[in-house]
Amino acid sequence: MSLTPNEAAAALRDIETVGRRSGQAFGYRYSGPYFVTWGLVWVAGYTGTDLLPHYAGTIWIASLIGGLIATTLLGARQPKGSRKNGIQAFGVVAIAFLFIMATYAVMWPVSPAQQAAFVPLLAAAAYSGVGLWAGARWIVAGVGIAVLTLAGFFLLQQHFSLYMAVVGGGGLILAGLWMRSA
C-alpha cells in the first residue's frame, strides 16, 4: 500500500481543511466568554452613563476594572490555563485602555457621544482584522458592531448610551454565545 503523489496531495489538502476548521472552532469557543464578559461591561457602563451621566467616569472605571479582573480570571481558567494566559489577557486589555486614553487626550475635546462611539468602533476594527485569520464569525461580529454603532451615533444621539447598552452590549453578549456554540 503506497500512495501516488496525487493521493498524497489530496490527503494533505484534507488535513489542512479539517485542521483549519477544527482550529477555528476551538478559537471561537475559547473567545466566546471574553465577548460575553465585555458585553456585560458595555451594558453596565453605557446604562450607568445614561442613567447617571454625572458619574459616567466613575461608572466606566468601575466597569472596566470589573472587566479587567474577569478577563484575567478567564485567561487563567481556560483549559490550557496558566498564570501566563491570565497575565497576557490582562496585558491586552491594559494596552487597549492606555491606547484609548491616549487617543482621547490627543483628540480632546471630544463629545460624550464621540467617546462612547470610539471604543466600539475600535473593537469592531480589531475583531474584523482578527477575523481575517481566525474565522468569519469574528468578522460578522466586528462588522455588526460597527454598523450598529454608526447607526446609533448618527440616528439616535439623544439616547446613544442607552442604545449602545442594549445594542452594543447585547450584541457582544449574543456574539459571545454564538461563538461559544461553535
Partner: protein
C-alpha cells in the same frame, strides 16, 4: 522515509479525526458531537474509528456529565501526535520525491 503509511491513520475518517485533534493545542480535547460534524461521520462510524485510535494509543477518550447530559471528549495522546506528524512527513516525502523524479 518509510515505505508504508501508518495503517491506523491511513483511513479517510480516521485521518480527519486525527487532523481535527492535531489542530488543537496540546492537551486539549474536542467534544464528540463537534468531531462528528468536522469529520462528516455518522455517530456509530465515528465511535468505531475512535475506538480503533484509542486501542492504538493515538487518542484518549474522556466521558463525564454536564448537568445531566453525558459528554464525550476526545484528544490526541503524545504518541498519536507523533504518529500523525510522521504520517504528514510521509505524505510530504511522497510529494517531494514525485516532484524531484
Amino acid at each position: 522515509m518509510t515505505d508504508q503509511p501508518d495503517a491506523i491513520i491511513h483511513q479517510p475518517i480516521r485521518l480527519k479525526i486525527m487532523a481535527a485533534l492535531k489542530a488543537l493545542p496540546d492537551g486539549e480535547q474536542l467534544e464528540f458531537v463537534k468531531l462528528k460534524d468536522i469529520a462528516g461521520a455518522t455517530e456509530g462510524n465515528l465511535g468505531a474509528h475512535i475506538t480503533t485510535l484509542e486501542s492504538a494509543g493515538y487518542a484518549s477518550v474522556a466521558k463525564d456529565f454536564v448537568g445531566k447530559r453525558p459528554r464525550t471528549r476526545v484528544g490526541l495522546t503524545r504518541q498519536g501526535r507523533r504518529a500523525f506528524e510522521d504520517y504528514v512527513t510521509y505524505l510530504k516525502d511522497i510529494l517531494n520525491t514525485g516532484a524531484s523524479s
